[in-house]
C-alpha cells in the first residue's frame, strides 16, 4: 500500500501551468525574466516555512507560532544585519537569527513533549509571546537590512534564484528520505500511530522533538527571505501560520499526521504565490486572491479524496464501521496524541 502521493503533485503542477499559461497569453508582463524571478523569490519564505510545517504535520502536530517567529527573525535581522556591519558581524548576526529559530523550536518541543501540551495550544502561546516581543523591539517598521546580504540571498542565474534550486533539491531529497528510507518510515509511523510506534521501541519523543525544532529552524530561514523582501525591520508580517498549513495540506499532508510530501508542499507554496502574483496583473483586488485560494484549497482536497469516493460508489455500500475489510485510510483510535 503506497501513499497516493502523485495526486497532489500532478494536480498542483497542472494548476501552476494552467494559471501561468492563461496569464502569459493575456499579459505580456507575466512571462518576463524579471517577473518570474520575482515570483520565485516571493515563493521562498512561504516555501521554507511550509516545508518546516510539513515536518510538524508529519508527526501529528501543528506549529502556528511560525508566523510570529518569522516576524521576530525579521526584527532581529534589523538589529544584527545592519547596513554598516562587518562580514564577521553579519556572520554572527545570521547565527543569531538561526539561534532565535532554534531556541523557539526547543521551547515549543519542550512544551509539547515534556509538558505534554497539545501542539496547537502550545504554539499559540509561543505565537503570542513572540508577537509581543517583536512589537516591543520595533513598534513600527524601521532599521534597514544590509543590502549585501539581500543581494546574496537573491542571487539568480537569469530568472532562476540559486536559493530556489537549493530548495528544489532539498524537497526531492526529503521526499526520497520520507518514503524510501527506514528513518523516514519511522517518522511516518509515529505520526500515524504513536502508541504502536512506542510499543515497537521507537524513540517517539525524540522524533517529535526534532520535528518541531526543524520546523522552527526552517521558519527562521524563511525569516531571512522575508527580511530580504521587506528590506526593513517590520513588526507586522502576513499570516504564515495558516498559509503554511494550507500549503502543506494542499501538497498532500494529512492533519491527522503520518502523511505528506515535501515536493507537494513546495508546489503548493509556488501555486499560492503565483495566484497572488497574477491577480494584480489583471487589476483585480487582492480580496479575490484570498477567495480564489480558499475555493481552490477546498476543490483540491475533494479531488484528493476521489479514489476513495469512487471506490465507495462502485462497491455500492457505505461501511459505517471501521473494522472488517475496512478502509485502509480510516482513522484509528490512539490513546496519546
Amino acid at each position: 500500500m503506497r501513499f497516493r502521493g502523485w495526486i497532489p503533485l500532478v494536480l498542483l503542477g497542472a494548476l501552476i501551468v494552467a494559471v501561468g499559461a492563461y496569464t502569459a497569453v493575456r499579459q505580456d508582463a507575466f512571462l518576463t525574466e524579471y517577473n518570474i524571478n520575482n515570483l520565485l523569490l516571493a515563493t521562498m519564505p512561504l516555501a521554507l516555512v511550509s516545508i518546516g510545517q510539513t515536518n510538524a504535520l508529519l508527526v501529528g502536530g501543528f506549529d502556528v507560532s511560525v508566523a510570529a517567529l518569522i516576524t521576530m527573525c525579521v526584527v532581529t535581522a534589523s538589529f544584527t544585519l545592519k547596513p554598516d556591519e562587518t562580514t564577521f558581524g553579519l556572520f554572527l548576526g545570521s547565527l543569531a537569527i538561526l539561534g532565535v529559530g532554534f531556541a523557539t523550536g526547543v521551547f515549543n518541543a519542550t512544551l509539547i513533549r515534556v509538558l505534554k501540551l497539545p501542539s496547537i495550544i502550545a504554539t499559540l502561546g509561543t505565537l503570542s509571546i513572540l508577537e509581543g516581543a517583536a512589537l516591543l523591539l520595533r513598534d513600527h517598521p524601521e532599521g534597514p537590512i544590509n543590502s549585501d546580504v539581500i543581494d546574496k540571498l537573491n542571487t539568480s542565474i537569469r530568472f532562476m534564484p540559486v536559493a530556489f534550486i537549493g530548495v528544489v533539491v532539498l524537497v526531492v531529497v526529503a521526499d526520497i528520505w520520507l518514503y524510501r528510507s527506514r528513518t523516514g518510515m519511522a517518522v511516518r509511523a509515529v505520526g500515524l500511530d504513536e502508541t504502536s510506534a512506542r510499543r515497537l521501541g521507537m524513540s517517539t519523543g525524540r522524533i517529535v522533538f526534532i520535528a518541531f525544532v526543524v520546523c522552527s529552524v526552517m521558519a527562521s530561514i524563511a525569516g531571512f527571505y522575508s527580511a530580504a523582501q521587506l528590506q526593513i525591520g517590520s513588526p507586522i508580517i502576513g499570516d504564515y501560520a495558516l498559509t503554511s498549513i494550507a500549503a502543506a495540506v494542499l501538497g498532500g499532508a494529512s492533519l491527522a499526521g503520518g502523511r505528506g510530501s515535501f515536493v507537494g508542499t513546495l508546489l503548493a507554496a509556488l501555486f499560492l504565490t503565483e495566484i497572488s502574483n497574477v491577480l494584480p496583473l489583471f487589476d483585480q483586488p487582492t480580496e479575490y486572491a484570498q477567495m480564489t485560494i480558499g475555493a481552490l484549497i477546498l476543490l483540491a482536497l475533494v479531488l484528493y479524496q476521489l479514489p476513495e469516493l469512487i471506490a465507495r460508489w462502485r462497491s455500492g455500500r457505505q461501511s459505517v464501521g471501521r473494522l472488517q475489510g475496512g478502509d485502509p485510510e480510516a482513522p484509528v483510535a490512539s490513546t496519546t496524541r
Binding site: D193, S196, L200, G321, R322
Partner: protein
C-alpha cells in the same frame, strides 16, 4: 548444565515485589514473578486482576511504583520499551502494535531490530520470506488495516519473535483466533520454548492455558496467588484460585421449553460482502449461536443486519421490514449490535463509564430537556452492580478499565433500553475470563427470558454449546449446518466447523 525447560536454573525474566497503582485503583500489590528459559509460564487471573499491568511493567511500557525487573540477568528499576527489547524481551500486545495505515511489510520492518534490518529496497521480499517461515499466508503489500482480526493477531506474534527474544510475553494471543489457528500458534510457541525461549503466556481460555503451560501463576485483585505446575492442576482448581471461590455453575439455565414459538427476526436471502444468501428465523426468547471458523462471513452477516454494512435481500423484525441502509433503521426497530471491537466501535474510551452507559438512552433521564443526574447515576450504578463492573467510580474514563470490564460497559446499553427486540452480539466474552463470563451469560439469558431474540457469534464452541438454544454453522458465507436440542454439544459444533471444510481466515 541442565537443558532448557521448566527445570532449568536459568531465569530469563524476574520481577520482584512489584506494585503499581492507577489513581485510586491498586492494580498490583507486591507481585513477584519469574520465567525460566525454555518454559511456558502461564499467567491467569480475572479481568482487572493486573495481568496486563504486570506485562506492561515487564516490557517497560509502564513504570512500577515499587519493585524491579530483571531481564536476561540485567536488573533495572525501570527501562524503556526500547531498552527492554535490547535486553532480549519480546512482547505481543493484546491490543497490537501495528500501524494500521502502513503495509504488512512495513510493519514487520519496523518491528525488526534496526541493526538486523535488510536494506529498505529489499523490504517486501524479506517480509514475504519471513511470513513464509512462519507459515502465514498474508499479502505483504496489504495495509494492516485491511487484515482480519485473526491475521492481525498472528502478525503481532510474528513481530514479537523477529528480534529473537530470550523471553517472550504473549498477552491474550488467541482472542481472535479459531481452533485451527490456536493450534497453529501453540505449535509455534512450543517450538520456540524447545529452542530455549522463556515464554510468558497470558490467557483466559483455561483449557488452552493448561494445554500449553509448564507452570501457571495466578493473580487475583493484583495479588499473586502462587505458582503451580500445570500438570497437576485441574480447570476447577484454577478457577477457584482465580475467583477465590469454587465456580458452581458455568452457564445459566436455559429458558422454559414451553414458550410460545413466535418468530421475531426473519431473514430471507440476505447477501452482502463475504456472506449470503442467508435464510434464518430467530424466535422470541431464543439465543441462537453463530459458529464457524474465523473469517467465514459471520461478522459481516451480523453487521449487515445491524445496518453497519449494506446488504441486499430482506430482513424483518417483528413483522416490520428492517431498513438496513444505515445503522439508524435497525436501531429504531430495536435491533442492537454489540460490536466485537469494543475499543474502536462500541465505546468512547476517554468518556466516563456513566456517559458510555447512558449515551443512547439519555432521553429517558430527561425532564423539560434537562438531565436528571440523580436518576442517571442510580441507573448506571445498578447496571454496574448487576454486571459486576470493577471500577473506582462511575466517572472513571472507560479506557482506564481493564479489557473485560470495558466489554461489560459496552454490554450495558441494551439493558437500559426498554424497547430492544433483537440483540446481535459479536464475541460478547472476547478477552473476558471465567468469573466475568458468567455474569455476561447470565445477563444475556435474562434478556432472552424477557422475550428478546439474540444471535451470539462466538469462536468458542464450549460457550456456544452451553449458552445457546440452537447453533447454526457458517462456512464460506453460507449456513451449512444447524444444531439444536440433544445434539447441541461442544464436540458436535467442532465437528460441524471442521466438517464443513472450514476455510482459512481472511478468505
Amino acid at each position: 548444565m541442565s537443558s532448557p525447560g521448566p527445570e532449568s536454573p536459568v531465569v530469563v525474566l524476574s520481577m520482584g515485589g512489584v506494585s503499581k497503582a492507577f489513581g485510586a485503583v491498586q492494580a498490583l500489590r507486591d507481585v513477584s514473578f519469574d520465567c525460566r528459559e525454555g518454559e511456558v509460564h502461564a499467567l491467569v487471573g480475572e479481568n482487572g486482576s493486573g495481568k496486563s499491568t504486570l506485562l506492561g511493567i515487564a516490557s517497560g511500557f509502564l513504570a512500577p511504583d515499587k519493585g524491579d525487573v530483571e531481564i536476561g540477568g540485567r536488573r533495572r528499576r525501570w527501562c524503556s520499551p526500547a531498552e527492554a527489547r535490547r535486553l532480549g524481551l519480546g512482547i505481543a500486545y493484546q491490543t497490537y502494535s501495528h500501524v494500521n495505515q502502513l503495509s504488512v511489510a512495513e510493519n514487520l520492518y519496523l518491528a525488526m531490530p534496526s541493526s538486523e534490518r535488510p536494506p529498505y529496497r529489499r523490504m517486501d521480499r524479506w517480509a514475504a520470506s519471513t511470513l513464509e517461515e512462519f507459515k502465514l499466508d498474508i499479502p505483504v503489500r496489504a495495509g494492516v488495516g485491511t487484515l482480519s482480526l485473526a491475521q492481525r493477531q498472528l502478525l503481532e506474534v510474528v513481530k514479537s519473535l523477529l528480534a529473537k527474544p530470550k523471553v517472550l510475553l504473549l498477552d491474550e494471543p488467541t482472542t481472535a483466533l479459531g481452533p485451527e489457528e490456536v493450534s497453529q500458534l501453540h505449535e509455534l510457541v512450543r517450538e520456540r520454548s524447545r529452542s530455549g525461549v522463556g515464554i510468558v503466556y497470558v490467557g483466559h481460555r483455561l483449557p488452552e492455558v493448561l494445554a500449553i503451560a509448564d507452570r501457571v501463576s495466578v493473580l487475583r485483585d493484583g495479588v499473586g496467588q502462587g505458582t503451580f505446575g500445570a500438570a497437576g492442576l485441574s480447570e476447577e482448581e484454577l478457577v477457584a484460585l482465580m475467583i477465590g471461590r469454587p465456580l458452581k455453575l458455568a452457564f445459566p439455565e436455559r429458558g422454559a421449553a414451553s414458550r410460545e414459538p413466535e418468530v421475531l427476526l426473519d431473514v430471507s436471502g440476505l447477501r452482502g460482502d463475504r456472506f449470503g444468501p442467508i435464510d434464518l428465523k430467530v424466535e422470541k426468547g431464543e439465543i441462537l449461536g453463530l459458529a464457524g471458523a474465523e473469517g467465514n462471513g459471520q461478522v459481516q452477516f451480523l453487521r449487515a443486519l445491524a445496518g453497519v454494512e449494506r446488504p441486499a435481500g430482506k430482513a424483518s423484525c417483528d413483522g416490520a421490514e428492517l431498513n438496513t441502509r444505515s445503522p439508524t433503521g435497525p436501531m429504531r426497530a430495536g435491533v442492537v449490535l454489540l460490536s466485537g471491537d469494543r475499543a474502536l466501535e462500541a465505546l468512547f474510551p476517554v468518556l466516563s463509564v456513566r456517559t458510555n452507559t447512558t449515551i443512547q438512552v439519555l432521553r429517558s433521564f430527561e425532564r423539560f430537556g434537562f438531565l436528571r443526574r440523580g436518576r442517571e447515576k442510580k441507573a448506571v450504578e445498578d447496571m454496574g452492580r448487576k454486571l459486576r463492573i470493577r471500577m473506582a467510580s462511575i466517572e472513571q474514563p472507560v479506557q482506564s478499565l481493564s479489557g473485560g470490564n470495558q466489554q461489560k460497559v459496552s454490554l450495558t446499553r441494551p439493558f437500559l433500553r426498554g424497547d430492544v427486540k433483537v440483540i446481535l452480539a459479536d464475541e460478547p466474552t472476547q478477552g473476558v475470563d471465567v468469573g466475568a463470563r458468567f455474569d455476561i451469560y447470565e445477563a444475556l439469558r435474562a434478556k432472552a427470558n424477557e422475550g428478546v431474540a439474540l444471535i451470539v457469534k462466538s469462536s468458542d464452541p464450549i460457550e456456544l454449546a452451553g449458552l445457546c438454544d440452537r447453533v447454526v454453522v457458517m462456512s464460506r458465507g453460507k449456513i451449512v449446518d444447524e444444531i439444536a436440542g440433544d445434539q447441541l454439544g461442544e464436540r458436535r459444533i467442532v465437528e460441524a466447523i471442521v466438517g464443513s471444510g472450514a476455510t482459512k481466515a481472511g478468505t
